[in-house]
Symmetry: C2
Subunit: 558 residues, 2 copies
């Protein structure tokens, strides 16, 4: 939205493909390609502005910083580590072979200053950037990244309320951007009908282009008609409608349209990225820049109307949940009293998975060759033959997901599974069964890597929602276990002051050293999630720790 | 102050001395001894309550946690890492030889929840503890720790205003606790007279016992008389007075007492640890516990009066500074408008040292033998013969500092000096010139390890005071460089919501591996401070980076 300072001259970026190294080794080639991949026009929402997704989530602070990172990575040795501070490379230090090659801290502010105005002030001075979760940590893989999580969530909704399928139901949601664009496909993969509202027709058209959305309706009336017909016929169909959620959602409630599930993924976490009712798409950028405070106020008022209508649908019997964009807290700040009447998606559906260390495991084929992903898909299906849910997902993804940038796959795996998969991938690389090494990472939204009281750590059993020690320990232990790059971010999907989260990416380059590192990182990383839930008192986690042989000192006798 | 929940049964703790190992190796014996040393009654302010210093700064969350940490460390292998979350051990994971043996995250909260009430709520649930800076990170070494910093600060005051000596000046200050108790001796080491006010006579008597304070006066009048006489005669003398600063400081201003320097180290960062005017020492604990909100309000009102008097002394020509306890912000919150009229001590005196990576380097003799410190003192004097200032300090410390717990030394060293000293210590261990290994660490208050807009990063040249990426990068890079334990804390000396900071301790055990680790950690740790100041535009830092051969990607050509 805001154009805080001159970020330099954009260049077109696309990761190199194939097996020829640009950098000195695959351990540095991997972050190089993944950074570039994040800025590939096929992947990034606004590549010229270095924005990958989520409104303002950037891969590098500005173009000079981007070029300096590329230079540093190209030259970096196997015992050196590059430090990146909010998208700018600030130093190269001598470490050792087991150390990460890149350490990243993005958007972190001291608590009392952890606000959007302070962030924007510093951003305008060129001193920081917003890293979102996987933008500034170089492991965004396009809309597929969220698709799996969204698929899992809607599957859980179906299981909880609709007998295991969304067939015969209508889901109403907003926002068809980088993350939100996964919603229509996730609903249809679960058999349901979906009506998705976005103010920007280009966003909807783009999702049709990538087969995530079936059709864009010419009007609200047409959209509602199409969606209700699909609901009636128990057909899977997704329909996009151009409009402002603050107007459309209350309107649909007034009309009494039969909606079964309501959620939202507009960029509500950043009030400047939520278009207030009455403002046109064309006026948006200028208005947000000229008067950020006034714009924020108007956006929050609109969100209050939007959330009020969501609560109305809940009162009418629909399944309603906050999908991780902090819209409830924004509505609360505008004075709406019932904003937190519906739950966040994590306590509602995801907590039991997190307790076992399950989360969005993902990997990318550095070769650029889709066949490499086909090989890894097969390997995963072979490794976990008893996991039907996983199999269904992998096959659906193969059928329906169009790659953006480097071919990649995501699937939810837990403690005791990720290391097994990672080691198998490393063997595939060593054996030449895939053309080049594989980068293995995950979203920051994971079992033990985030503190976020309105999302991942909402409603923890022991009340420890706001405790932020865990993501820090996660980053430290991944750094101590042999990850190739590690990141620590503030804000992410829920905005400034509301979360702290960590990421890691490890490279399976087929060497024995990589195998040793993968065995540790891919066990320890989800282990912190299990331990976090053991500490909070979840029985599932205690059982998972016992199964996984995790040592919990407070449970060991004197 | 508050007794949030039952912390279990206290035991008397004292670190083992000598060369017999309790743990499997010196790399785990060291954190074990240093944890125990932090709770040694000679060191800790309230050992039964696990409080080391700074009001509520704890070494472990509770006694069961303490025992579990001890058990885990005793058994920990050379490729395992113990995770500590706010003073409780939460897991043991398999890492590798170069990884830290302990990773610690204390008191961290997500930004919007980073407040005292939320911290206390969680503490009462037994879910967190306050780690201060070196309490929860097991490298507090008694009052000597702060003495060197205080000595440096008063030396800088003398250089700036009084021709290089405090002889003939009177310094007025408050608070004679764990940190504040260093003030009288630091002033007298610089030749000056000092009047120190504390509400608790026991604190003053204790400092007389450790030779940090010369005398406790029977009354305010007597104290003033003694201090003014010393000022007149240019004699070094420190005088303690029992009283409440909120009363005594305004009273001395009204009387027009000739004071040259004014500062304060009451525990103002935590309003429940600052006694409001009109409350007796005996009523304090109960009142703070019964009504924390009301107590906070009264404490802040008193602080406003206290700070107002400090501003009055400044108006009258005195050198006045905030000594890192956040009293200005507390007074501001009570509505006092001129609270920030005087500067913090870092921008006023310490910034140029930080720009060169200089900060409070410290080490402890794990043998418990004071002769080991004598040997290291000599080594440091030999290594830096041209540094007069350093020599003066070491000799003064040898003469005046009484060890508390394990013998230890502190001196400020910068980038390019710390690794030299550390490697020399490792040689001394290898050669048997000292009886046992040496633990080498530093305060969290250091050049690149802290973000704290009211203290260490106050008034940064580029306005980046609140950016918290740097301490996180510092912790990550120390973890990646071979430190023995690494910590990440929130709050510390300035309180909740106001700072994030990191610590590291590395063990010189005489092995070649330790040498390799020390060479990296003791270079990279201060390097992050130099890089932070390069990035903020300090010329001194640019020069230090060039001297030290530090690579700054944004300054390297395309
Ligand atoms: N649940 C999760 O796991 C998760 C993960 C990451 C991000 N998020 C959050 O989801 C939200 C969406 O992320 P994104 O990457 O898709 O953002 P984005 O900026 O790419 O897309 C947001 C979309 O919302 C539309 N929009 C804005 N205001 C609107 C309004 N009033 N009415 C209708 N449409 C409007 C925009 O046109 C845009 O297409 C963010 O808040 C993000 O932080 C959630
Ligand atoms: N400058 C630095 O480098 C630095 C470093 C660490 C801590 N600190 C800060 O310095 C402060 C003191 O730390 P400490 O470890 O000495 O704390 P402490 O709790 O051990 O001592 C505080 C002392 O203040 C006294 N006190 C409280 N209210 C008073 C009042 N109204 N009038 C007079 N005396 C009063 C107490 O009796 C106590 O002796 C803390 O706020 C701490 O965070 C500064």
């Amino acid at each position: 939205m805001t154009q805080p300072y001159d970020r330099g001259t954009p260049v077109a970026v696309r990761a190199p493909r194939g097996t020829a190294l640009t950098a000195r080794s695959w351990q540095t080639e991997a972050p190089l390609r993944m950074l570039m991949n994040n800025l590939d026009p096929e992947v990034a929402e606004r590549p010229d502005d270095l924005v990958v997704y989520g409104g303002t989530g950037r891969a590098a602070r500005d173009w000079p910083s981007y070029h300096a990172i590329v230079r540093s990575l190209t030259d970096l040795r196997e015992d050196e580590t590059l430090l990146v501070q909010s998208g700018r490379p600030v130093g190269v230090l001598r470490t050792h072979e087991w150390a990460p090659r890149v350490l990243i801290a993005n958007s972190n502010l001291v608590g009392d200053w952890a606000t959007w105005p302070e962030h924007r002030r510093l951003e305008q001075l060129g001193l920081t950037m917003y890293g979102q979760m996987t933008a500034g940590s170089w492991i965004y893989i396009g809309t597929q990244g969220i698709l799996q999580g969204t698929y899992e969530t809607f599957a859980a909704v179906a299981a909880k309320r609709f007998g295991g399928t969304l067939a015969g139901t209508l889901t109403l949601t907003g926002g068809c951007g980088g993350m939100g664009g996964a919603q229509p496909l996730a609903v249809t993969l679960n058999g349901g009908a979906c009506l998705v509202v976005d103010v920007d027709p280009a966003r909807l058209e783009r999702r049709v282009g990538t087969r995530y959305l079936d059709v864009v309706a010419g009007s609200l009336d047409e959209g509602v008609e199409l969606a209700l017909a699909a609901r009636r016929d128990r057909r899977a169909l997704s329909v996009g409608v151009v409009g402002n959620c603050a107007d459309v959602v209350p309107e649909l409630l007034r009309r009494g349209v039969e909606v079964d599930v309501v959620t939202d993924q507009t960029s509500a976490h950043d009030p400047l990225s939520y278009l207030p009712s009455g403002v046109t798409l064309e006026e948006w950028a200028a208005l947000a820049q000229e008067d950020p405070d006034g714009f924020t106020e108007r956006a929050r008022e609109s969100m209050a109307r939007h959330v009020e209508a969501m609560v109305g649908f809940q009162d009418a019997g629909a399944e309603v949940f906050d999908y991780g964009n902090s819209i409830r807290d924004e509505a609360r700040q505008a004075g709406y009293g019932r904003a937190f009447d519906f739950p966040g998606f994590v306590p509602a559906y995801i907590r039991p998975l997190f307790a076992e260390g399950k989360g969005p495991f993902r990997w990318a084929a550095l070769s650029g060759d889709p066949r490499d992903i086909a090989v890894t898909d097969r390997a995963v299906l072979d490794l976990f033959p008893e996991n039907d849910h996983l199999g269904r997902w992998i096959r659906a993804a193969q059928d329906r997901v169009a790659y953006q940038g480097l071919p990649a796959r995501i699937c939810w795996l837990g403690h005791g599974e990720r290391d097994v998969a990672g080691l198998r991938f490393n063997e595939l690389v060593a054996a030449g069964d895939v053309a080049a090494p594989i980068a293995i990472g995950r979203d920051h939204l994971d079992s033990g890597s985030v503190a976020s009281p309105y999302r991942e750590t909402e409603a923890m059993a022991d009340g420890s929602d706001a405790i932020a020690d865990w993501p820090l320990l996660n980053a430290l232990v991944n750094t101590a276990s042999g990850a190739t790059w590690v990141s620590l971010h503030h804000g992410g999907g829920v905005g400034m002051g509301r979360s702290i989260h960590a990421g890691q990416v490890s490279v399976a380059d087929g060497t024995e050293l990589a195998a040793q590192k993968l065995a540790r990182v891919l066990a320890n990383d989800p282990a912190t999630g299990v331990l976090r839930h053991v500490d909070a008192g979840y029985d599932d986690a205690v059982a998972a720790a016992a199964r996984g042989g995790l040592r919990v000192p407070m449970r060991e006798g004197a």
